[in-house]
């Protein structure tokens, strides 16, 4: 295995305590994992310090993490964290990511949860703090000096007077044999020298030199090439497969059929492509798809699973008493993750064990799903994370890992599976959900909101496979496993405290359940009833799942209410907000953008050929996992309907910042990805299948566009917990652009994407 050499070297360099890379650990008796990941058996007990940190005799610190890097900077940030807590230089740290034979089970790297999990007082951070205190205690014994008189720096522990001892001497190739100490103290943010600093990405040189190993570059000795044959229509099943149709293709090794899963294996990749294209498969016609035209109305007619998020139980009464009631409906299409690299995986499934090289966000859950699919005990399956192209959620990485496992199992040899672009975009990924969101609000004589009623409808089918649902992605379903289906259910009254994980509840309501008021705002008349219905396509957590769609609807509707009240959009938001961190980002963005305080739309608008305007949106991401406010400045070509964003100004608060340079990169990327999604991205389909299956039919803004100026105002708070930061900015973009278009033109667009045609149509309708 040529690709494994660097990885193995990397490990053996890192010291005597590093777990051997044989299968030996898998043969040891199982220890039931305890603590935050205790739902599944793992041989790596997260309660043990040795599961997370090893210090080699050479002083190199090796850390094992279950949160991996897809380009969002988590490799660099976690390396900084270890260097900081262990008081070593950053080049003395080796980070091992997401390998089920050596790293703890931290579930899935997703949902802006890596920072909350590993950078506060649990997970990797707490392990690192425990290790530093353990080293100091060891030094106290060796130097016969009380621990509180010792300091750690540069990989050594020093006493006053100059006596010092290096970490390597202290541990001398032994394990710590300690439990994670929940009382171990993190180094205070005010004293950080590595964490919190703009450390350049550790992978940048390898990337720009073309030497970085992606999963697409993995080569295993004796490896063959596989391709899949997906159904030509949604719901189609296999009637027959004519293996004779590809018998003449040289290098073909096997046609593999398992229920409705069809794939081919060949010696060379082109042979596999030819075989997949040439294989005659008779399929049933499929279920048929609801028409895309009218799909948002279709959603609302489906049986739904309902959840009453919040209910003041006086909403109708308050609306009846309001001076004015406004209503609006917002629509958001299915969108694709659309990874730049079609997904790829390598699997080597033998009679007694299996290894999968996978770009999955979910190493341990994938291990379990592979074990289920190939019928091996889970402990005999190893999933090794190797980075793929940016995934932004549930792209094809999980499903192609299952494809590779099924094909390898059929021939007992390693198989690399590369999805085609159409495999990826028509079937390989689980789309971000389409939503239709109904808003109603009542205002008093001053224009202040007294009641807000919201009903978001979203579609769902499948999702992350987790540990036990391989059918949640296409390969598992084709192989006969059931996807998760929405089961219709009526809502009951909310209890406990509001958890606004999907941002279904607008920021401007109190969010009261009994005396628990977890909302960010002041409006007391409040009701949010969510509806989930069955999707004809697989759905999954595309970056800022549902949070983006809901925020688009809330922040645009807030703008409509503000315009009705003839209030300035910033002042109007502040009037209804209670959460100080959200208030601070709104004020911060307005100040940084030199906000032009006045009601929208512009009174002197629509002169000349281009109209300009500004709009704002804000969010407390997932209720409390990051705070952001964004101001977009746009120009609208009044003749053509083309929207050009000129400037984004964002204020962002994610607590103590791990790496401000990396954070800016994430914010910039999130804003422009959000702009692409707002202005052009939409999954399309005909009566049988998705038709947006390549870059001519799914519209991503290319490198050549005029890029808006981006200004980031980072609010660094050291005395609060660290939150996620990868999804806050993107959540705001569609709303801020929509509000800016309204400001410029007086046209309110309530459906994504804002392509030129609907903008022009709306402009023509009011002129």
């Amino acid at each position: 295995m040529t690709s494994g050499l660097s990885r193995r070297d990397f490990l053996t360099r890192s010291g005597a305590l590093v777990v051997s890379f044989s299968m030996a650990p898998l043969l040891e008796p199982l220890a039931l994992a305890q603590g935050p990941f205790d739902t599944h058996q793992s041989h790596i007990d997260p309660a043990n310090l040795d599961s997370w940190i090893a210090v080699g005799a050479d002083g190199i610190v090796t850390a094992y993490t279950g949160k991996c890097d897809f380009g969002q900077g988590m490799y660099t940030a976690q390396t900084q964290l270890i260097a900081e807590e262990l008081c070593v230089a950053i080049d003395r740290v080796r980070l091992i990511q997401c390998d089920t034979s050596v790293t703890p089970d931290q579930g899935t790297t997703s949902g802006s949860q890596s920072t909350p999990t590993n950078f506060n007082t649990s997970g990797l951070a707490q392990a690192a703090a425990t290790a530093r205190e353990a080293l100091i205690n060891l030094a106290a014994q060796r130097l016969r000096v009380p621990a509180n008189l010792l300091t750690a720096a540069n990989g050594s522990i020093s006493a006053k007077g100059g006596r010092r001892i290096r970490y390597g001497e202290l541990v001398a190739g032994k394990k710590f044999k300690l439990k994670i100490d929940p009382k171990a103290k993190r180094r205070p943010a005010g004293e950080w020298t590595v964490l919190g600093k703009p450390v350049p990405p550790l992978d940048i040189e390898a990337l720009v030199m073309g030497r970085f190993e992606f999963v697409h570059n993995v080569h295993v000795s004796g490896m063959l090439h596989g391709r899949v044959v997906r159904p030509p229509a949604v719901g189609a099943t296999v009637v027959s497969v004519d293996e004779g149709s590809v018998r003449g293709i040289s290098g073909l090794v096997k046609v593999v059929v398992r229920k409705n899963f069809v794939g081919v294996v060949a010696e060379k990749q082109t042979q596999a492509i030819d075989a997949a294209a040439g294989l005659k498969v008779v399929w049933t016609p499929g279920a048929g798809l609801p028409a895309q035209q009218g799909f948002y109305d279709y959603i609302r007619k489906q049986p739904s699973r309902d959840v009453l998020m919040i209910d003041s139980q006086d909403i109708e009464q308050k609306l009846a008493q309001a001076v004015t009631v406004l209503k609006a409906t917002y629509c958001h299409p299915y969108q694709a993750h659309g990874s730049i690299g079609a997904s790829c995986a390598v699997a080597d499934v033998r009679a007694d064990k299996a290894t999968v090289w996978s770009a999955t966000q979910s190493a341990y859950p994938t291990r379990q799903c592979v074990a289920t699919l190939v019928g091996l005990p889970v402990d005999d399956v190893r999933v090794i994370f190797v980075r793929g192209s940016g995934c932004y959620g549930l792209n094809g990485a999980d499903t192609v890992s299952l494809d590779a496992a099924l094909l390898s199992q059929a021939i007992h040899r390693p198989v690399r599976v590369q999805l085609s672009r159409a495999d990826e975009m028509a079937w390989g990924e689980n789309y971000g959900a389409a939503c239709v969101i109904d808003q109603r609000a009542g205002v008093d004589a001053t224009g202040t909101i007294v009641a807000w009623d919201c009903e978001p409808w979203s579609v769902s089918f499948g999702g992350r496979p987790g540990y036990d649902r391989p059918g949640n992605v296409v390969t598992g379903m084709l192989a006969g496993y059931e996807p998760h289906l929405v089961s219709p259910q009526a809502a009951s009254q909310p209890t406990g405290a509001l958890e606004n994980g999907n941002n279904a509840v607008p920021s401007y309501v109190t969010g009261c359940i009994g005396s628990n008021c977890n909302g960010a705002g002041r409006i007391r008349g409040e009701r949010v009833l969510t509806h989930s219905v069955k999707s004809p396509f697989f759905t999954g957590p595309l970056r800022s799942p549902l949070r983006l769609q809901n925020t688009f609807a809330h922040e645009c509707f807030m703008d409509e209410l503000g315009a009705h009240a003839k209030a300035d959009p910033v002042e109007y938001r502040l009037r209804h907000l209670r959460d100080q961190r959200l208030i601070d980002v709104v004020k911060g963005a307005a100040k940084a953008a030199k906000w032009d305080a006045r009601p929208s739309p512009k009174s002197n608008r629509r002169r000349g050929e281009v109209a300009s305007g500004r709009g704002i949106a804000c969010v407390a991401y997932e209720g409390d996992n990051g705070y952001g406010a964004l101001i977009a400045e746009v120009e609208v070509d009044l003749a053509a309907g083309h929207v050009q964003v000129k400037r984004f100004t964002v204020a962002h608060d994610c607590g103590p910042i791990s790496n401000p340079a990396g954070l800016r990169n994430q914010i910039e990327g999130g804003l422009l990805q959000g702009m692409s999604r707002a202005l052009g991205e939409e999954v399309t389909w005909d009566d049988r299948k998705a038709t947006s299956t390549d870059w001519n039919t799914y519209h991503s803004l290319p490198l050549g566009i005029e890029v808006p100026v981006i200004e980031c105002e980072l609010i660094n708070q050291s005395d609060v917990t660290a939150t996620g930061a990868g999804e806050t900015a993107i959540t705001l973009v569609a709303a801020a652009i929509g509000n800016a278009i309204f400001d410029a033109t007086g046209v309110r667009l309530r459906q994504i994407p804002f392509t030129a045609a609907p903008v022009k149509e709306a402009l023509d309708a009011i002129s």
Partner: protein, 155 residues
């Protein structure tokens, strides 16, 4: 079948493959190069870009038989970690990557264009990048890096 002679990053390789095989698969599967990536296989995104006699071509739709004996350079052939090519140094300096999968398309398309049009305007550079995708949307930093490289060429 006589082998096809490929000159890649200064070395000569003789490969025994169907001449219709897309160059990308030969570079990746036979020569184990990591620079050119499979993005779409349709010539739409740029991830598979290599330099062919100094021009950017999309190796996923270039038959290997058509490049016999011609000079091919991939991203790893531009510079070395000890001595990065100026455009590689520009991307390092601007920290112009997230996942990095698109870099062959972005960097080699920009390099080929600027080498042929050293006095290109900002608008002309953008036009040259109209068919290149980055799905992490590192556009701002990448464009700064490309402009930095353009300045080093003019200096």
């Amino acid at each position: 079948m006589p082998g096809i002679s490929l000159r890649v990053n200064g070395a000569v390789h003789v490969v025994d493959v169907d001449p219709e095989t897309p160059l990308l698969y030969v570079l990746g599967d036979e020569l184990h190069l990591r620079g050119p990536k499979f993005g779409c296989g349709l010539g739409q995104c740029g991830a598979c870009t290599v330099l062919l006699n100094g021009s950017a071509v999309r190796s996923c739709i270039t038959p290997v038989g058509s490049v016999n004996r011609q000079e091919i350079v991939t991203l790893e052939g531009l510079g070395t970690p000890e001595k990065p090519h100026p455009i590689q140094q520009a991307f390092i300096d601007e920290e112009a990557a997230q996942c990095g999968f698109c870099l062959s398309g972005v960097m080699l398309t920009a390099k080929a264009f600027l080498d042929q049009h050293p006095k290109a305007s900002e608008v002309e550079i953008r036009h040259a990048l109209a068919g290149v995708l980055c799905r992490c949307f590192v556009h701002t930093r990448m464009f700064k890096a490309i402009q930095r490289y353009a300045r080093t060429r003019q200096a």
